[in-house]
């Protein structure tokens, strides 16, 4: 359905990724944000802090990331769309509550504007080293969705998509910016509200006494309700049955946790998104995401100019990973090249899917800046030799 025009500032702007992300959340209908300052993400909540009082939203700077990451879940269960924003160190602190959101199937959005790590690392400089943490960071098994914008425009667009996916699958969704995308200023077009597609929360509309808050519908997703509607719900992080009551047995674990994993895994075809350029007939495929996908372009163009058939596959969803497509390509491509601002994270997914059928080369960079395109080019030029 179309977005609610109230609060949406349609028009063309020259703003950075952090600000665009805030506007995307507003366009998606987010009206509760709890956050904690951390470079390079702070501008997101600063914009929210300015905008929300004027559009009926509620922003609160909580005492820490742990409080922020659970305050948003309280807000969701009271009926709001909610988001929190952080960077590496805060992302680590939020891990327990990302797991809580996955376990309780609480739709909400966590934004990680990645910076150099580990630990305090490089607060003002880019990194892409939280990608595996995005998938596996909380303890236990669960499914999750993570999106990677590569521009301020995409920070806006994918923020909306993040909320839509969260509501569709009753799952926390991670929006993985990086410091470059967050702090680069570019043209961002905010469409008229009627052109913005927004997914509203699917509340239970059946007979009241038949509500089972954790009983999946046909696509594996249970209905939502909110506190105050008289359903007397119980929401717990303990392993629970379809009523939501704790049942701590292997059978209940199998039933629930398998469904949490499958909810994303079996819907992967509908969720996975990527962009391809020049894949047909390619001998080399560059797999990239975020700011690195833009840095790779001059390298790819130079290689193509020299006669190499280089395709580019850009992840929109890092998780679920486009395993099917990579497997398919691995039968006919001579080499995958995966540049990332880390020492090898998403490349492991590529390797896993390729399963030894063809070469996979990484172009690692510890962080603190983007790659020099020459380094990516050098890998492209040499990867099919020998």
């Amino acid at each position: 359905m179309a977005a609610d025009p109230k609060g949406i500032r349609s028009g063309a702007y020259f703003i950075d990724g952090d600000h665009a992300c805030a506007e995307g959340a507003i366009a998606a209908g987010c009206r509760f944000v709890a956050g904690y300052p951390i470079t390079p993400s702070t501008e997101v909540v600063e914009r929210i802090a300015e905008r929300f009082p004027l559009i009926g939203g509620m922003f609160i700077q909580m005492e820490d990331e742990i409080a922020s990451s659970i305050a948003i879940q309280g807000a969701v269960w009271a009926g709001k769309k909610a988001m929190t924003v952080t960077s590496g160190p805060g992302f680590s602190l939020m891990m327990e509550h990302i797991g809580l959101a996955a376990m309780t199937e609480t739709p909400c959005v966590f934004v990680d504007v990645q910076r150099g790590g580990p630990s305090t690392g490089l607060p003002t400089l880019p990194g892409q080293a939280d990608m595996m943490q995005a998938r596996w960071g909380s303890h236990g098994d669960y499914g999750i969705i993570a999106l990677c914008p590569n521009s301020p425009q995409e920070s806006f667009d994918l923020a909306i998509k993040a909320f839509n996916l969260a509501e569709t699958y009753r799952v926390p969704v991670l929006l993985m910016l990086d410091e470059c995308v967050g702090h680069m200023t570019e043209r961002v077009v905010i469409p008229p509200a009627e052109e913005i597609e927004v997914v509203e929360r699917k509340y239970w509309d059946g007979p009241r006494d038949e509500l089972l808050l954790f009983k999946p519908g046909p696509n594996g997703v249970p209905p939502m309700v909110k506190a105050g509607d008289g359903y007397n719900i119980h929401v717990t992080g303990l392993t629970h049955d379809e009523r939501g009551y704790p049942v701590m047995t292997p059978a209940a674990q199998e039933k629930l946790v398998r469904r949490l994993v499958d909810k994303i895994r079996l819907n992967a075809d509908a969720i996975v998104e990527y962009r391809e350029d020049g894949i047909e007939g390619a001998d080399i495929v560059v797999v990239s995401y975020g700011i690195t996908s833009r840095v790779a372009i001059p390298a790819i163009e130079r290689a193509r100019a020299e006669g190499l058939k280089v395709g580019h596959l850009r992840l929109i969803t890092a998780w679920p990973f486009p395993a099917k497509r990579i497997r398919e390509l691995s039968h006919r491509v001579g080499c995958f090249v995966v540049p990332e601002i880390n020492y090898g994270q998403m490349v492991r997914e590529v390797e896993r899917c390729v399963a030894g059928r063809t070469k996979v080369e990484r172009v690692s960079h510890g962080g603190g800046s983007v790659h020099d395109p020459k380094d990516i080019y050098a890998k492209l030029a040499g990867c099919l030799k020998g």
């Binding site: 004027l54 005492e63 659970i70 309280g74």
Partner: protein, 291 residues
């Protein structure tokens, strides 16, 4: 709940507390002589006498024996992570101010791991009721030391006896800005029920500390008898001193227990402050926030 009733059908006379419980989940997990169930009776009583619309009451708890209360109460209930009931409750309340939000959790959960959130919610005067059941220990996990464990008492992680200073919870709550602060024990059932009711109806951050026996871990390990012995200790050693200075109500091992309503004042809540401030600042551009 001592309504008049006939004795027509004794078999069908139901304990009125059952209206507030998820009876399909009984029996509960608490030990013989544990005081948590006693406080639940008081809470049910308080809910009823408060006149609140129960559909709008949400109960949030953390992890621990007291944390299990939310699972047993027939309300919108949220069993969150250890120490984090208060920020979850903050989100719930700010997103829908029409909800009556109650945090019901234990001493370790709320003041050790949850300590930071406790002080900030009190500082902000977020409109919520925090009921803290203090059994001086981490019961569920086997009896580890808590910030409330009295000096000299042993715990599994203080096997030679606790040497750390303890929190004086009413003092902590008052100094952080709570508008209502009371302490009772699970022996003082009527006072507890009344305090819980007053706290429920109070606008702002209201805090009630209730002492309760943990016979299996705290009492047994410290050779203090069973739950009943602790209840007798509460009866014999407590002194009701409303308006006592919270500085003076600290607890010691088997020492004097000062009970009463220590703080009951009026202060604008977080949302009241927010709305007033923003209206002044932004004038017509601001619509008062109602959720």
């Amino acid at each position: 709940m001592t309504e008049e009733s006939t004795i027509q059908d004794l078999e069908t006379l139901v304990n009125p507390v059952e209206d507030f419980l998820r009876m399909e989940r009984m029996p509960h997990i608490w030990c013989p002589g544990c005081g948590i169930g006693t406080t639940v009776n008081c809470f049910a009583h308080a809910l009823e006498s408060s006149g609140l619309d129960l559909r709008k009451v949400a109960i949030v708890s953390g992890i621990g024996c007291t944390g299990r209360v939310s699972g047993y109460m027939k309300l919108d209930s949220f069993h969150t992570t250890h120490g984090r009931a208060i920020p979850f409750a903050t989100g719930l309340k700010l997103a829908n101010p029409d909800l009556k939000v109650v945090v019901y959790s234990g001493d370790g959960d709320l003041t050790a791991i949850g300590g930071n959130h406790f002080i900030h919610a009190a500082r902000r005067n977020v409109n919520m009721t925090v009921i803290l059941i203090n059994n001086f220990i981490y019961g569920m996990t086997g009896g580890q030391v808590a910030p409330t464990t009295p000096i000299g008492a042993t715990a599994s992680t203080m096997p030679y006896g606790n040497y750390e200073q303890t929190f004086n919870l009413p003092y902590l709550a008052e100094s952080c800005g709570a508008v209502y602060v009371a302490r009772w024990t699970s022996y003082h059932v009527r006072h507890t029920a009344k305090a819980m009711k007053d706290a429920l109806l109070k606008e702002g951050f209201s805090f009630v500390e209730i002492l309760a026996p943990c016979p299996t871990l705290f009492s047994r390990r410290n050779k203090l008898g069973d739950g009943l012995d602790q209840m007798k200790y509460y009866k014999e050693s407590s002194e009701i001193k409303n308006d006592a200075n919270t500085k003076d109500v600290g607890l010691t091992l088997q020492g004097k227990i000062i009970c009463g309503t220590f703080v009951n004042k009026d202060k604008p809540t977080y949302l009241q402050t927010y709305n007033e401030f923003m209206a002044k600042k932004l004038g017509d551009r601001f619509t008062p926030y109602k959720g």
